[in-house]
Amino acid sequence: MLLALIRKELLALVRDPHALAALFLMPAAFIVIMSLALQNLYAPPVRQLPYAIDSATDSPAARRISATWAMTQGRAQPLPATSGEVEEALRQGRLAYVLTLDAGLADALSDLDPPRAPVVHLRVEPGLDQGAFRTLQAELASAVGELRAALLQASFTGESPRGSQSILPFLSIEQLGSTLRPVSAVQQNVPAWLVFGMFFVVTAISSLFVQEQHNGSLARLAALGVPEHIQILAKALPYVVVNAIQAALMLTVGCALMPLLGGEALSLAGIHWPALILMLGATSLAAIGFALLLACLVRTHAQANTLGPLCNLLMAALGGIMVPTFVMPGLMQQLARLSPMNWGLEGLLTVLLRHGDLSEAAPWALRLAIFGILGLALASRLFSRRIIS
């Protein structure tokens, strides 16, 4: 009996192209689009920005800064002939920024006292994003600081530093996790939109439920003596399979498709697979429990088709799916913790980025499981009322 009812649910789903698109195409499309669109947010492309250097001096210090900058940022573009043309090039974005070195650069850097006025000027185009702007600012301060240190050392000891003047050899920077590199847009977006897509089972479940309720199929099954728990299980179990297929598809998109489209690849190397399965299972339980509860609450197709997606969008907006929580202010980050989608996302990020094991994923999985079980319990209580109505 259970198998026949599950088969009915699956047949209804595969014959509904809109539901299939919402479950599989939409999250995959979001992963591709958002990963490509937000690529620069996670890795500001400062090294590809077109720039020019306007140097009023040909001193060794100016030449050294220009050379250092060219090594890290690429070759400079020719400087427009007049200051008006420079201004125009910046306004139009043909140049992302212009580095201006004043005539007194070398003296100012060698002097123990701070300069009376700045000797290095960074002017950027109006549309440069804050991430790139701050990175440029930091890199320029670092280059000028390194040069000043070298010049002061030479003036006191009569010797220039040997080898590279960079401070970086003095530092060791390590980011824990599998990738050993900064979080990319793909790594954020694959788990985010996977969680979003998994919660979208709400539309498919509630649409069929409303249809069954309205045409009397649910009542007929009940009249035939089909127990309520069998009816609920028959609705829940097919969507566990659907969620599993979604997970496989979205991870494949991240690992295989994104590199082909010019994005970074999602890496699954070294992750704790049982922890990943635990998180996916808990997210699926939460999504299905929530979907069944909503299905038992709505009464019309219009409600089913709007309330479910609306709740999903709110949970996604709040939970860091659409906007990563790390860019949110503190209060919003605390509010994000109220969204079950955030629990799914944080749990998956724990596993995929931080190589978290079962114990680290468990707190997130536990929250999701409690949410899902509560949803199922409430749905069970409402189910019989829906049959009669």
């Binding site: 009996m1 198998l3 026949a4 009812l5 088969r7 009915k8 047949l11 209804a12 014959r15 509904d16 249809q211 069954e212 309205h214 045409n215 009397g216 199929s217 009542a219 007929r220 099954l221 009940a222 009249a223 035939l224 003596g225 089909v226 049959i387 009669i388």
Partner: protein, 309 residues
């Protein structure tokens, strides 16, 4: 077989009860016509028989066993064919039948045989592979019936089984229902269509406001109006003539303008009554006497006012 006695039910927050002291009987091999206007309580009764509602009072028994107990032991003993198309439009006819056969606890060869039998009984063999959403109204009604027949019930409740079908499909469905009763099945046939009930019912229950107004064999119900004579005159009689006529007639006289309604005594002659009217100056335009249609019985019991306004 089925005995409903003193059933009482009020929906939560409803001002009036849906069923009040409701009693009826359905017997094997017999078609019980259930007649009632909208909101009369037919669907509430069907919901009780389907086990979807718990009565506030009264009893439903099948062969002396309580319905609740019977449903626990044999939940498919009573089949319901609801008024709605209670199946899955995105599934084919065969897929729907397989789904509901499994829900009826049929599997393997038993399920295949039940499906073949239901398809044959409703002449749906040629549409087994057609998705239900693409069937015509008549075919959908037949599928609705076929699903009800899957578990070979001892009793079937048909709620408005011919709504929205063409005359050919209606004739086919009525013939099929007759065939079911002929096999010994008890049939409860709820319908608004008096002529259908008149055509197939052995006994009739007329319900309104949750109460049984009249129950009995169809022929008996129709014959109950035998003593009534309805007369329409060309012009109304004056007061003296009417007073004299009331004294002439062996029975009761009701007058509304040119309409006279006579309730004659058991052995009174309608011909003599008509002669009396003419003798008192009445010019008869139209006169009706004898067997009434079910519709007239129904309307006289439930009154003719609109209900859904």
């Amino acid at each position: 077989m089925l005995c409903v006695s003193g059933l009482h039910y009020r929906y939560p927050a409803a001002a009036t009860p849906a069923l009040v002291d409701f009693s009826l009987e359905a017997r094997r091999g017999e078609i019980l016509g259930l007649l009632g206007p909208n909101g009369a309580g037919k669907s509430t009764l069907v919901a009780h028989l389907a086990g979807l509602l718990q009565a506030d009072g009264g009893e439903i028994e099948v062969d002396g066993e309580s319905l609740a107990q019977l449903r626990r032991r044999a939940p498919t003993c009573i089949a319901i064919a609801p008024q709605d198309f209670a199946f899955y439009p995105m599934l084919s006819v065969a897929e729907n039948l397989r789904c509901f056969a499994a829900a009826s606890r049929l599997s393997g060869a038993a399920a295949r045989q039940a499906i073949a039998r239901a398809l044959a009984a409703t002449c749906l063999e040629d549409f087994a592979g057609t998705r239900a959403e693409y069937l015509s109204g008549g075919l959908k009604r037949r599928l609705n019936l076929a699903i009800a027949l899957l578990p070979t019930p001892e009793m079937i409740v048909l709620d408005e089984p011919t709504v929205g079908v063409d005359p050919q499909s209606r004739a086919f469905l009525l013939e099929t229902v007759r065939g079911l009763a002929a096999t010994g099945m008890a049939v409860i046939y709820a319908s608004h269509y008096m002529e259908e009930i008149e055509a197939i019912a052995d006994r009739v229950v007329i319900v309104d406001h949750g109460r049984v107004l009249r129950e009995g064999p169809l022929a008996e119900l129709l014959a109950q109006a035998r003593g009534q004579v309805e007369v329409q005159l060309e012009a109304p009689l004056d007061g003296d003539a009417l007073a004299a006529l009331a004294g002439d007639i062996d029975g009761q006289l009701k007058v509304t303008g040119v309409h006279l309604k006579l309730e004659l005594a058991a052995d009174a002659s309608p011909v003599a009554a008509l002669a009396c009217i003419e003798a008192r100056g009445g010019c008869i335009r139209d006169a009706r006497f004898g067997r009434h249609s079910l519709e007239r019985v129904f309307l006289s019991l439930t009154d003719t006012r609109l209900r859904d306004h």
